[in-house]
């Protein structure tokens, strides 16, 4: 079995689905000839031609609106928005049309499309290349939101997303695109949308993370283990619909929980997770639900971004605060 990093796993997933289903296609800025600025669509245009691996003019709203039209007429488009910070122009099409066409047509039309977006900080990029905006995505009814954290999950979740009858926003943690390699089957396989992954079991405190924060939380969990704190780490993998039973049953066991996200704190997903926990497990809680997050500021540039993004040390501090309560 080949060992692939996350970009390669995504490329492999796209290749496998385009082989299997002639209605699957990719479109976006630089996805064709260039193979994507991160090389996630490498080789697709050579293999499937410029119509199914389509370079578009530079227009995010156009790309995403076009994808909806394609999807309405029985294609399975996978659109790419080059960086998270370029999402806002596309947002109008997502919120006004893509997320609503099923409701608007009373179920006659769905929008079986995928929008891939490299997201998040930690790569010393210019402005608008480091955003984490999951909260606004999850807040929008009518779309699914997926955040892989490993190469294996990325491929399996992407294939599930392509086959899904509804629109899926597929957020790729660009910071760890090439951080790890693992065995990824060459053939197509699926990882179900809506199921969290148990990263490590532990009895003392539950840590909930997703995307690039899973690795940071894992490091924090290792540091905690050396201080005899046993962390149960959950990788949500899908944020909408969210596998809340995974963390609620974990919290019932541990009684303590820390949510980690790199997005701003206020109205971040940590708040939603905390709400669900108190709705279903308030009597099992031995400490308030704590959050380790980015700040309520614009993501800073390279000189400061390491202060902004939660580090293993900050997560460990959160874990210890939960334990000390």
């Amino acid at each position: 079995m080949p060992k692939l990093n996350m970009v390669q796993a995504i490329q492999s997933g796209l290749m496998a689905e385009m082989e299997r289903d002639p209605s699957v296609m990719v479109l976006g800025e630089d996805v064709g000839r260039e193979g994507g600025v991160f090389r996630a669509t490498e080789g697709l245009q050579q293999r499937f031609g410029p119509q199914r691996a389509m370079d578009t003019p530079l227009a995010e709203s156009g790309i995403v609106g076009l994808a909806l039209g394609l999807a309405l007429n029985r294609m399975r488009p996978v659109a790419e928005i080059q960086f998270d910070g370029f999402m806002p122009p596309a947002w109008d099409q997502i919120i006004s049309h893509i997320s609503r066409i099923r409701t608007r047509s009373r179920g006659r039309f769905g929008a079986p499309l995928v929008i891939r977006i490299p997201y998040g900080g930690g790569i010393h990029a210019p402005e608008h290349h480091s955003e984490a905006t999951e909260a606004v995505l999850v807040h929008t009814p009518g779309i699914k939101v997926v955040y892989p954290s490993t190469p294996y999950d990325a491929k399996g979740l992407l294939i599930s997303a392509i086959r899904d009858p509804d629109p899926v926003l597929f957020l790729e943690p660009k910071r760890i695109y090439r951080a790890v390699r693992e065995e990824v089957p060459e053939e197509a396989y699926t990882v179900p949308i809506g199921e969290a992954r148990m990263v490590r079991e532990g009895k003392d405190v539950t840590v909930v993370a997703w995307g690039a924060m899973v690795r940071e939380a894992e490091r924090a969990a290792q540091m905690a283990a050396s201080q005899s704190i046993h962390v149960e780490l959950l990788d949500l993998r899908t944020l909408s619909p969210m596998d809340d039973q995974a963390f609620i049953s974990s919290v019932r066991k541990t009684g303590r929980v820390v949510v980690v996200h790199e997005a701003p704190r206020t109205c971040g997903l940590g708040a939603e997770i905390a709400a669900r926990i108190q709705e279903e497990a308030i009597l099992q809680l031995q400490a308030p639900v704590l959050r380790v997050t980015g700040f309520d500021t614009v993501v800073p540039l390279a000189k400061l971004e390491h202060h902004y993004i939660p580090s293993p040390e900050r997560i460990l501090r959160g874990i210890k605060q939960a334990m000390a309560f």
Partner: protein, 363 residues
């Protein structure tokens, strides 16, 4: 010279060229204020800017700068347009306009500091009429239109200029800006540097229009295509557009046809999407080369002058790097300070908690 626009606009495809690639000039079209001395001075700045751009690439490779978007090949478009502006005018740059920004008085050391990841570099000194770099492609022309309208409301003779590229002309906001500027007769220059590529996507895949300049016609104002590697043509077109703007005649679109000789950014490998032959074909059209040929032809250039220009450029670039690298490292508090004019209590609490964390880490 006013009539200059008309045939170009109507046919929409003819490109204004005044300084030809062989260095000869249509003297009849040369504005008086563009004296030999002025041209020599602009050449000197272009040499400095070329060198600064190369130094930025080197700094990035040495890990001393972050991702950087070089402008090599586009010096005439940027220097010519910036030089034609009036003192009161305001510039709205995109991310590849370091040369134009510098010409408007933005300190190059600050610009470099910004590309080194220090936001302090984006706050230019008072009096420098340059907005911070806008990264989302084609979105900021609207701001130039609004800014210009505000000036008109107050009857100030101010023109605004928005820089963008061929890729930017595909964005909805660009068309909204053009349409509004046309309707409102905004004192705005839309300055497109058509450098032939939006990362990997060539100009002919960006728009089916024969030119970008002709897009202005649909919005009811003149568009003009100029040879973007011709300092004089760019200067003349911008000056005319500015005159239109400040005399209430409304906006103008200028398409400066040029070529990005370098990569899109330091993260880009252009060999994946264009041939070396193509790049080689553009090299003889290099704007610096053309200007030097002209100066040589007019006996305004000799080796001695070139040596002194090079010495000026090198000394200045060294100073710029030193200045950029001596920008103080930003303290973590910096991240919180500029979110709102007054920091809300909740944000202050986040800042204080983080500073406490840093202190704990030290212990």
């Amino acid at each position: 010279m006013k009539g200059l626009f008309d045939p170009l606009v109507l046919e929409g495809v003819e490109m204004l060229q005044i300084l030809h690639p062989d260095g000869t000039m249509d003297e009849g079209l040369r504005p008086k204020e563009l004296t030999d001395e002025r041209i020599q001075a602009l050449y000197r700045e272009m040499v400095f800017l070329r060198l600064a751009d190369q130094r930025a690439l080197n700094l990035q490779r040495q890990g001393r700068m972050g991702t950087y978007a070089p402008f090599m090949g586009q010096e005439a478009a940027q220097v010519g347009s910036a030089a034609a502006l009036g003192e009161e005018d305001w510039m709205f740059p995109s991310f590849r306009e370091c040369a134009a920004m510098y010409m408007r008085g933005a300190p190059m050391g600050a610009i470099f500091a910004y590309w080194m990841g220090n936001e302090a570099g984006q706050r230019f000194p008072e009096g420098v009429r340059v907005m911070p770099i806008s990264i989302p492609v084609g979105t900021h022309a609207l701001h130039a239109v609004g800014f210009g309208l505000a000036a008109r409301i107050r009857k100030e003779p101010v023109c605004t200029i928005a820089y963008f590229g061929d890729g930017g002309s595909s964005k909805g906001d660009f068309h909204e800006a053009m349409n509004m500027a046309g309707v409102l007769a905004a004192p705005t220059i839309f300055f497109c540097q058509n450098n032939q590529y939006a990362i990997s996507v060539p100009r002919q895949m960006q728009t089916a229009s024969r030119t970008i300049a002709q897009k202005a016609l649909a919005y009811g104002f003149p568009g003009i295509q100029v040879d973007g590697n011709d300092l004089v043509a760019v200067y003349v077109a911008t000056r005319l557009a500015r005159e239109r703007a400040i005399t209430g005649q409304g906006p103008t679109l200028i398409e400066a046809v040029t070529y990005r000789l370098g990569p899109h950014t330091t993260a880009d490998d252009p060999t994946r999407y264009r041939s070396e032959e193509e790049v080689e074909a553009w090299r003889p059209l290099d704007p610096l080369l053309r200007l030097r040929r002209h100066l040589e032809r007019c006996c305004l250039w000799d080796q001695e002058m070139e040596d002194s220009v090079q010495a000026y450029a090198e000394e200045k670039v060294n100073r710029v790097v030193q200045e950029a690298e001596s920008f103080p490292e930003p303290a973590p508090e910096e991240m919180f300070l500029h979110t709102l004019e007054q920091m809300p209590g909740r944000l202050r609490a986040q800042m204080e908690d983080y500073l406490a964390f840093l202190k704990e880490q030290e212990e």
